[in-house]
Amino acid sequence: MASENEEKEAVRVAVKEILSEEDMDVVTEGMVRKKAAERAGVEVSAPWFKGFVKQLIQEFVSARQDKSKRGEEEEEKGDENAGSQESSKAMLAEGEDEIICQLSGKRNVSVQNFRGKALVSIREYYEKDGKTLPSSKGISLTIDQWEALKKELPAIRQAIESLQ
């Protein structure tokens, strides 16, 4: 019998497929849940199922909205800080950092080259003299810590599920 994490992964894949197949204007959450349950071989009545599928749908919808917005902006602005597939392919030299995405008005995720080592920084920024500067509120993760975080994603998702 599959573990809950395995089931969730199967559901995630199924929902992704279904959402790309279906007409988003017509399909309902209920329909997605039913199809996903069938494809993933999971019980629709599982306690975590409904909330989990709801979250996946929300992620998909907001990602799609961002993509279409950014697509328009990119054509006008050129390749500024689009944050999606268009990030620069250049190497990150020492002392350089690259903002990957904006988590909120004041918070960014960036990758820095600090003395040859990559750091993943999740941090608040502030404005001073027209410059945007990193504040002390945040944390810079080493690669080991970033990898460990990624490994824990299923457990973290599960914890979030259980609280929602």
């Binding site: 190497m91 904006q102 457990a155 914890a159």
Partner: protein, 86 residues
């Protein structure tokens, strides 16, 4: 994050906060998922040890669900930038 509360009892604390998972990402750094006044937060923070207790430190950040979702959506981009560090 340690929070100052007017009420002191553990029973009252439970109403405000509920921590369900704590994962270690290094010796002193943990990710915890908790509910704080109705909001689910993902906290990535340094901890320090004092008198046998493990206490949350100042270095860290608490992410709301919206912020956490954006982070998750960009895992691949973060990885590819990491690869490009010379």
């Amino acid at each position: 994050m340690a929070s100052k509360r007017k009420r002191g009892s553990k029973a009252d604390e439970k109403e405000d906060e509920e921590s369900v998972a704590v994962c270690e990402i290094s010796k002193n750094r943990k990710v915890s998922v908790r509910k704080w006044r109705g909001q689910v937060l993902v906290d990535i923070r340094e901890y320090w040890y004092k008198g046998g207790e493990c206490l949350p430190g100042k270095k860290g950040i608490s992410l709301t669900m919206d912020q956490w979702n954006v982070l998750q959506e960009h895992v691949k981009q973060i990885d590819s930038a990491v690869q490009r560090v010379n």
